[in-house]
Structure formats: C-alpha cells, structure tokens
C-alpha cells in the first residue's frame, strides 16, 4: 500500500523516447496524455491543381489504449500549428545544418505569421486561422482522427495516436523566402492555469533538461534560455528530408546528429521503415491498427 500511496500522486515523468513522446511532466502529472504531442512532420506534395502543397502532420497522445476504435477529442484541447514565414535562415553553417536544418539569423524575432488553431466540438474539428485570408482557409484540407503512430522506430510498432493533418497551397502561406519555420503546440486548462506542450524539431522538448522549451515561445527559447529555438526549419525550395522539414519516412533517432538516443542499443541502430504503409494521398498517415 505504501508504494502506491506515494507513487500514485507523483506524476513523475519516466524516460523519454521517440520523437516527442515522453515530455511535459506537468501534463503527465495531471493525466492529460491527450495533450501530449508526439510528432511533427512537414513536407510538400503536388496538389490537386498541379501546384505545390504544404502538408503538416501533428500527432498527439502516445497512450491511446489498443481497444480504442474511435478517438474522442476532448473539447478543452487546443492544438495550434504556428508558421513563421519572415525569419531569415542561413544554410552556410554545416554544423547547424546537420543538427537544426539551418541557422536562424535573428532568433529574437521569431513569431508566428500564421496560426492555425484546431479545437473540437462534438468530436468535430473546428479550424480557426490567423494570418491567412478566408480564401486560403477554404483551401485547407483538415483531417483529425486515429492513425497508426507515424514514428517509425520499432519501439512504437502497432500503436495508434491521435493525429491532425493539414494540407494547403504552399504559395498561399509562404513569404518572400522559400524557407518557413514551423512548430506546434497544445494547451489544456487546469486548476493551476493552462498547461502547454511544444514540438518543433524532433527530439528536443521531450527531454527533461529541455522541458522549459514547452512553456515558452520559440523566440524566448533564445532570449530567455539562451537555447537555439525549437522550431522546424523547412526550405521548401528543396525536398523535405530531416532536418529540412520532416518526411514521414525520416527515422529521426538515427538522423538527429546530437541526440543521446542515437547510440542507445534499443532505440538506435539503422534507419527503419514504418510498421504499416503510409498512404499515397491525404491524410498520408497509415490507417490505425484495429483492436
């Protein structure tokens, strides 16, 4: 009894593996696994009209029970996708290119030019967009539901997550440069105030020593923590390939140059393929596993 009595209220975060699967102790401590971000992917595809579309996939909730067949999105969960299309990025530094996908020239001024907010009512996603026209908004395709966990490391084989996929014409969300910065956040209310979660480049904000990244906007990662802002850099003039954006097929544990898991005997090793085939069309993520 003693052990449970104590352990039952600790909310201790356990080890952190996978792209962003084990982070934000505050969410774990209050049992809000539904607000935990597990992955952020971004890549381009040829759109229906022949132009280039940007696809952004955000996955949440690493602890979906296998018995779940229909995912109920909580009505108090807010998922946001943030897009900065004004920040300049240099690709002249090979060391930062390999780790972060480039070097942001003025990290103190990172800001979301576009914000796509998804909330849920009667289990239907509601999209509120800031920084784009109504026309652009009408061009956005949106999927929200249960999917196979796109994190391709075998540690997450046969697991489902709750995913959101957005597809939109690239030309309508890009600025004067071909490069964009992306990050995603979730937020849920709680008794001591809202709790937020952040994902940018994979395998950063999940680590306990970088947990503060989850509470701050990316520019504050730099100005307040002195860290490289946790965003995904994506030069859309080049094919997506981690850390330039992130394809569904990118095994980030193997690809992240500085990640401690790279040499982990369980998580590391050769790049892998997903345990279920990704789809060739929207929403791209593989179908969920049946119970």
């Amino acid at each position: 009894m003693f052990l449970l009595g104590v352990l039952g209220c600790t909310g201790l975060a356990t080890g952190a593996f996978a792209s962003d699967h084990g982070d934000t102790p505050e969410l774990i401590s209050v049992g809000r696994h539904d607000a935990r971000l597990t992955d952020l992917h971004a890549w381009t595809v040829t759109g229906a009209g022949g132009g280039t579309d940007l696809v952004i996939a955000v996955s949440t909730n690493p602890n979906v029970p296998s018995s779940t067949t229909i995912y109920q999105w909580p009505e108090d969960l807010t998922v946001r996708v943030h897009l900065d299309h004004h920040s300049q990025v240099s690709f002249d530094y090979p060391d930062t290119n390999s780790v972060y996908g480039g070097r942001i020239i003025d990290p103190a001024h990172i800001a979301d030019d576009i914000k796509l907010e998804i909330s849920f009512m009667n289990n239907q996603p509601q999209l509120v967009a800031e920084g784009i026209s109504d026309t652009t908004k009408s061009h956005i395709q949106l999927f929200a539901g249960l999917r196979d966990d796109p994190f391709i490391n075998h540690l997450r084989d046969h697991r489902n997550v709750a995913s959101i996929v957005l597809q939109m014409p690239l030309a309508e969300v890009i600025g004067s440069s071909s490069t964009i910065l992306l990050w995603a956040t979730t937020k849920v209310p709680d008794i001591r105030g809202p709790i937020s979660e952040h994902v940018g480049r994979s395998l950063r904000s999940q680590h306990l020593d970088e947990n503060a990244l989850n509470t701050l906007r990316p520019r504050a990662h730099y100005t307040e923590l002195g860290l490289v802002p946790d965003v995904m850099i994506f030069d859309t003039s080049r094919p997506a390939a981690f850390p330039n954006g992130r394809l569904l097929t990118d095994d980030v544990i193997v690809l992240v140059a500085d990640d401690p898991l790279k040499n982990d005997p369980i998580a590391g090793g050769a790049p892998r393929v997903n345990d279920k085939p990704f789809l060739g069309s929207f929403p791209y993520l593989a179908e969920p596993w049946a119970p």
């Binding site: 009894m1 003693f2 201790l12 975060a13 602890n63 009505e75 906007r217």
Partner: protein
C-alpha cells in the same frame, strides 16, 4: 515495528504535492504552464473538476481527474464513500473514452483497497497502453499487488535484482521487495538511491518519503545511529507521515516513549489517521497511560470499522492486529485475519494470522 510501516503512508499520499512539483518555473514570457501561488487542496481540485464536467459533461479526461481527486479525498479522510465517487467518475470517463489515465486510476484504487488481483489486471491494461517508454509506474503497482498477494517470486521477476537502477519506480519496487524479505539494509540502500533519483527530478515530497523509508529500514535493522540522519533529511525535504512514524519508532526504540507519543499527537491534531492512533496507542500503553492509550485505541478502531462497514476490506488486517495488540476479542481477530488472508497474503498478513491463531487457541483453552 515493521508492520506499521506501510499503511500510514496512505496519509502521506494525501499530503503529497499534486500535481507534480517537477518542471520549470514559468517566466513572464511563458505561454502557459503558469503555476498558481499554492498547490491546490483536494477539496479545491474536487470543486474545480466537478465544476468543469458539470459544464462540459463529455470531458472524459476531466472526469478521470475528478476521480483521482475523489480517490485522494478517500485516502485523506479514510472515508470510503469517496471511493464510490471515484469509481463513478472513472466509469463515466471510460464510458466516453477509455484512457491510460483512467486505467491508471483503476489500478491505484484497486491496490489501495487491497483488491490486488484487480490491481494487476488494471495495471497490465494501463501498461499495455503505454508500451514504450516502459511504464515503470504501473510496473511498481504490479510489484505492489504481487507482494500483496504473497507472490513475491513473481514480483522479483518483474524487477530482478541487478536491474538498472536509474528509475525511481524500479528502485522503489526493489526496496519494497527487499523490505518484504526483511533485508532491511538492502532496502535502505535502495530507498537512498530512490531519494537521489527523486532529488535529481526535484521531487521534494519523494525525497522526503524515500529518506524516511530508508530511516525506517535502519530502525528495523536496529541501526538507530544510521536512521536519524535520514529522518532528518526527510524532515529537511519537507517531511511526510513516514518521517513522523519512523521518528516515533526511533524514539520509542531508544527509550523515549514520551517524546514519541508527543510527536504522534502533534501530527494527529492536524490530521487524523488510524495507523497513527494505533502506534500512539501502543506507545501510551508502554508508558502505562491507560486513558490516553484507550483514547487512541478507540479512535483507530472506529476508523478501521467504519471502512469495513462500507463493505471494504482494506482495514481487515489492521483491525485484526489492533484487537491483538489491545488484547481484544481474539476470536474476532482470527475471523478478521482469515477474511483478510483471502485478499492480502503478504508477510504482514501472515504474521497477523499466525498471532491470531495462537491467541485464539490460547483463549479457547480452559
């Protein structure tokens, strides 16, 4: 002495910080995760979560949070009615959407109420939902349940000696098994590792708990000089019920029964707890203070019986032992111990049953 080690920790659970104390302090630039001035009380949590589900009845994560708050209230008050509320709330949550958190709560409630077979089932289900990273919290509950069922070898298989001891729950489980084996020095060593891990995670309540448990192990090993620094460390980390219990044990074991009684009564004046009353009864009896002893005996008995009256079984062991300690009805103690052993078969339960059988046989003799 050791038999008193476990149950009072339930009270500590109620006093544990909630939510977790981990994580950074938000700065003015923070987008969220802004902590309020103080950790909310259980009542505040109940009011908050109940209000939220009243407004939004399909918020299944909040139903689970409400269930957890009710569960904490049950532990804090020793009133099983709150357990019924917890069961209702978690069932409501799961009816909308099954979740890891709901399964986790089910496992914890089952283990707390000594329904160890159920606890194993729920913990397995929760563990399967987490898959990876390994869910060491649920693994710890499984260890707890297996030890409760008297299946110590199976518990050992879950956390074998020599397992990597870099996880709080794994180390706490190893300590639990060593304690059940009465390898007190080894258990103390594990608790100290647990304290160090908790310190690294800035989890002060767990530092206090682990240090206090290490101190308690040294008391059991009769290494009183080794016990004191850890009890002091526990107090320095914020203290907990275990620290009170084990400090009282240390005082009593070193001939300072009066000081132990004063300590227990100080804590009881703030937080009624049947196990504290129980140890206070024993110390008062040693001192020959029958009036005080009876007061604590009756207080402990009343709470233990009130739980059983609500068709719960998790105070059967404690009540049987109280009757034995107080030279009460040996036949009733035996009946309670027999009833208890159907659910709880750890060392504590077996010791109580053995004693009850001896006493009942003696009482039956002309």
């Amino acid at each position: 002495m050791t038999r008193w080690r476990f149950a009072p920790l339930v009270a500590a659970a109620a006093g544990c910080a909630h939510p977790a104390v981990l994580g950074p302090t938000a700065t003015p630039a923070a987008t969220a995760n802004v902590p309020a001035a103080a950790t909310p009380t259980v009542d505040q949590r109940i009011a908050y979560y109940a209000g939220r589900v009243e407004q939004h009845p399909r918020l299944y994560p909040v139903w689970a949070q409400l269930a957890e708050a009710y569960f904490d209230k049950a532990k804090e008050t020793w009133n099983p009615s709150w357990l019924a509320n917890a069961h209702d709330a978690v069932a409501h949550s799961r009816a909308i959407q099954d979740t890891y958190h709901a399964l986790e709560i089910e496992a914890q409630i089952a283990a707390y109420t000594h329904q160890f077979t159920d606890a194993l089932t729920w913990a397995h289900m929760a563990e399967a939902a987490a898959t990876y990273p390994p869910d060491t919290h649920m693994r710890a509950i499984e260890v707890e349940a297996l030890v409760g069922l008297g299946e110590i070898d199976e518990a050992r298989q879950l956390v074998p000696e020599g397992a990597k001891i870099d996880d709080f729950f794994v180390v706490a489980s190893l300590a639990k098994i060593a304690n059940e084996d009465q390898r007190f020095d080894q258990a103390a060593s594990y608790y100290l590792v647990a304290a160090r891990l908790a310190h690294q995670l800035q989890a002060a309540p767990l530092v206090a708990w682990a240090e206090a448990m290490a101190g308690g192990m040294y008391v059991d090993a009769k290494d009183y000089a080794a016990a004191l620094p850890h009890l002091d460390a526990a107090r320095q980390a914020g203290g907990c019920a275990e620290e009170t219990i084990h400090r009282g044990e240390l005082l009593a074991a070193t001939g300072k029964q009066r000081a132990a009684l004063v300590l227990y009564e100080q804590v009881l004046s703030r937080h009624p707890d049947p196990h504290l009353h129980h140890v206070a009864f024993k110390v008062a009896k040693q001192l020959g203070d029958e009036v005080i002893a009876q007061k604590h005996y009756q207080a402990a008995e009343q709470i233990y019986r009130s739980v059983i009256d609500k068709h719960q079984i998790y105070t059967l062991n404690a009540l049987a032992q109280l009757l034995l300690d107080g030279n009460g009805n040996a036949q009733e103690a035996l009946a309670l111990a027999h009833q208890n052993i159907a659910y709880k078969r750890d060392r504590q339960a077996r010791v109580t049953l053995d004693e009850a059988e001896r006493r009942a046989a003696g009482a039956a003799r002309p």
